[in-house]
C-alpha cells in the first residue's frame, strides 16, 4: 500500500495486518466539518471502525471519576444508543469500564438470564443486536470505553478483534494527546504497535508520576510530548528516565 509496509521490525515476518487495515480505513474517513480537535479525531476513529468492521455505529465514552461524557459518535443514531446505558445505569460499556476488560456480546437476545434487563429494554427498537465494548486503558489509567454496535448477531473474527483493538489504541492515543487525529500518524509506524507492549514505558510512567507529582495519565502525556519534541521514540525516553533522568514538569520546571 505504501512505503511503510516494508518497514516492519527486523526479523518480524508477521505483517501487522490490522494496523494496515486501520490505517486505510482512517485515511478514507472524515469527521463532520463542524467538529475540530479531539471530537473530530475521535469521530474519525468511530467512523473508520464502523466502516471497516461493518457495524451499525460506534461511540467513544470518556469517563473520569463520577463524570461521564460521550465525546464522539459515528452518527446521531449511535450517539443516542451510547447515551442509553448512562440513563438506565447499566450496560456492557459500564461493565467493561468497571471490570477493566472487554465485554463482547455477539447476540444481545441470546444471553442466558439477561445481564442488563433495563439496558435491553432501553435499546429495544434501535436495531441493536450485537455489542462490543473495549475499555480504553493504560494499566491503572482508565480513560473510557470504545463501544461498537452491530446490527446483526455475530462474533467478531480474530482479524476483526485485532482491528477493534487497534482502533481502541488509536482512541487512547488521541485522548492522551487531546489531538484532532494527527496522532493517527501512529498508524504509519509499525513500531508503535510493537512499542506499546514495552514494560519500560510503564515503569518510567510510574517514575515520572513520583518525580513530578503528576497523575499517571499526565506522566505518560509528558513522556509522549518529550519524545515528540526531540524526535525520539517513547521507549528511548523511558530508558532515559529509568537511568535516572527527570523530565521537566508541565510548567516547564
Amino acid at each position: 500500500m505504501d512505503r511503510h509496509d516494508d518497514q516492519t521490525p527486523a526479523g518480524d515476518g508477521r505483517e501487522h495486518t490490522s494496523w494496515r487495515l486501520a490505517r486505510a480505513a482512517m485515511a478514507q474517513t472524515h469527521a463532520d466539518p463542524s467538529l475540530s480537535g479531539l471530537a473530530a479525531g475521535l469521530q474519525r476513529v468511530c467512523r473508520a471502525a464502523t466502516s471497516s468492521l461493518g457495524l451499525l455505529g460506534a461511540v467513544v465514552h470518556l469517563i473520569t471519576g463520577e463524570r461521564e461524557a460521550l465525546v464522539a459518535s459515528s452518527d446521531e443514531a449511535s450517539r443516542r444508543l451510547g447515551e442509553l446505558p448512562f440513563e438506565v445505569g447499566e450496560g456492557p460499556c459500564l461493565e467493561a469500564f468497571a471490570l477493566a476488560r472487554p465485554i463482547l456480546v455477539p447476540d444481545l437476545m441470546l444471553m442466558g438470564p439477561p445481564r442488563w434487563p433495563g439496558y435491553l429494554s432501553a435499546v429495544d427498537g434501535h436495531g441493536l443486536r450485537a455489542s462490543y465494548s473495549f475499555p480504553l486503558l493504560v494499566g491503572a489509567v482508565r480513560l473510557g470505553v470504545l463501544d461498537l454496535y452491530g446490527a446483526s448477531p455475530r462474533s467478531l473474527t480474530p482479524t476483526e478483534v485485532s482491528l477493534a483493538l487497534v482502533f481502541a489504541r488509536v482512541a487512547i492515543e488521541t485522548l492522551l494527546d487531546g489531538s484532532d487525529g494527527s496522532s493517527v500518524a501512529l498508524l504509519d509506524d509499525p513500531q508503535v504497535g510493537v512499542m506499546h507492549g514495552r514494560l519500560e514505558i510503564y515503569q518510567a510512567q510510574g517514575m515520572v508520576k513520583v518525580d513530578l507529582g503528576v497523575d499517571l495519565a499526565e506522566a505518560l502525556a509528558l513522556m509522549r510530548a518529550h519524545a515528540f519534541g526531540r524526535d525520539v521514540t517513547l521507549l528511548d525516553v523511558a530508558r532515559l528516565i529509568l537511568d535516572g533522568e527527570r523530565l521537566l514538569g508541565p510548567e516547564g520546571g
Binding site: L137, V161, M207
Partner: protein, 242 residues
C-alpha cells in the same frame, strides 16, 4: 532425576495459588519459578499473544531487567516467537549456534551467559495463546522427564489464564487475555512508583510489592493498583520496607 516429593510439592504449591481469589500475575510468576527449578533453568518467562500481532511479556522467574529485555525482544525474533507461530515446541536450541537464525536474540542471550533455550507453546484447544521460554546456562539437552513436567506447567499457566471460564464463548478468550495484559501494565507502573520512591531497582520493587501482598494476604494486582492510585498503600509499603 526430578525427585517425586519435590515435584508433588511444587504442583501442590502452584495449585494452591489457583484458588478463588487468586492473582493471575502472581500465579504465573509462581509457574515460571517452578518451571525454572524443575528444569534447572536460569530463567523462565511466559509470553502472551496480544491479539494485535505482538507477543507480550507476562511473567518470569526473575524480574532482572536484562532478562526482561531478552523476553521482550522475542516479539520480533527468537525461539519463543517460533513456538508461538508454529504451535510446536522449539527444542534444545544452542544459543551459540543460532546467531544466523536470530541475529539480535542470540548474541543478546549469549551476553547474559545463557547457552540453551527451550520453548513450549501455550495451547488452548486449537489456538496458541502464547509461549513459555526456558533458558539455561549450559547447553545440556532437556530430558524427556523435564520436558513433560515443563509442558504440564505450561498447561497449568493456560488454565490459570482462563480461570473458571470454560470458554463456551470465543469472546471469553479476548476478554481474559486483554484483562491479563493490562494487569501486567499496572504492575509495571507500580514498580516504577516504588522504585523511584524508595530509590531501588525495578526488579527489587517487584519483590517488595509481592512480599507486601503476601504478607497482607492481598492480591498483587490490587496492591499495585492501590500503589499507583495513592490510596495509602504506597506509604504502608514504604513503612513496612524501612
Amino acid at each position: 532425576m526430578i525427585s517425586t516429593s519435590r515435584l508433588s510439592d511444587l504442583f501442590v504449591e502452584v495449585a494452591d495459588t489457583l484458588v478463588d481469589d487468586f492473582d493471575l500475575i502472581d500465579f504465573l510468576h509462581h509457574v515460571a519459578t517452578s518451571a525454572a527449578e524443575i528444569t534447572s533453568s536460569t530463567a523462565v518467562g511466559l509470553m502472551l499473544d496480544d491479539q494485535e500481532g505482538n507477543l507480550r511479556f507476562m511473567a518470569a522467574s526473575s524480574e532482572d531487567a536484562r532478562l526482561l529485555e531478552l523476553f521482550q525482544l522475542q516479539n520480533a525474533e527468537g525461539p519463543c516467537l517460533d513456538a508461538h507461530r508454529t504451535g510446536e515446541e522449539v527444542a534444545d536450541i544452542v544459543i551459540e549456534e543460532s546467531v544466523e537464525r536470530w541475529p539480535v536474540f542470540a548474541p543478546r542471550a549469549a551476553e547474559l551467559g545463557l547457552h540453551s533455550a527451550h520453548c513450549f507453546p501455550l495451547r488452548l484447544r486449537d489456538q496458541v495463546i502464547g509461549a513459555m521460554n526456558t533458558f539455561r546456562a549450559d547447553a545440556r539437552a532437556m530430558s524427556q522427564e523435564e520436558r513433560r513436567v515443563a509442558r504440564a506447567l505450561a498447561d497449568l499457566a493456560t488454565i490459570g489464564l482462563m480461570q473458571e471460564r470454560a470458554l463456551r464463548r470465543a469472546e471469553e478468550l479476548t476478554e481474559q487475555l486483554q484483562f491479563a495484559l493490562n494487569s501486567r501494565i499496572v504492575i509495571e507502573q507500580a514498580k516504577g512508583v516504588v522504585a523511584r520512591t524508595l530509590d531501588v531497582g525495578v526488579d527489587q520493587a517487584f519483590g517488595m510489592l509481592r512480599a507486601y501482598a503476601r504478607q497482607h494476604r492481598l492480591r498483587l494486582t490490587d496492591v499495585a493498583r492501590d500503589v499507583v492510585e495513592d490510596r495509602g498503600a504506597l506509604q504502608a509499603l514504604v513503612d513496612s520496607a524501612t
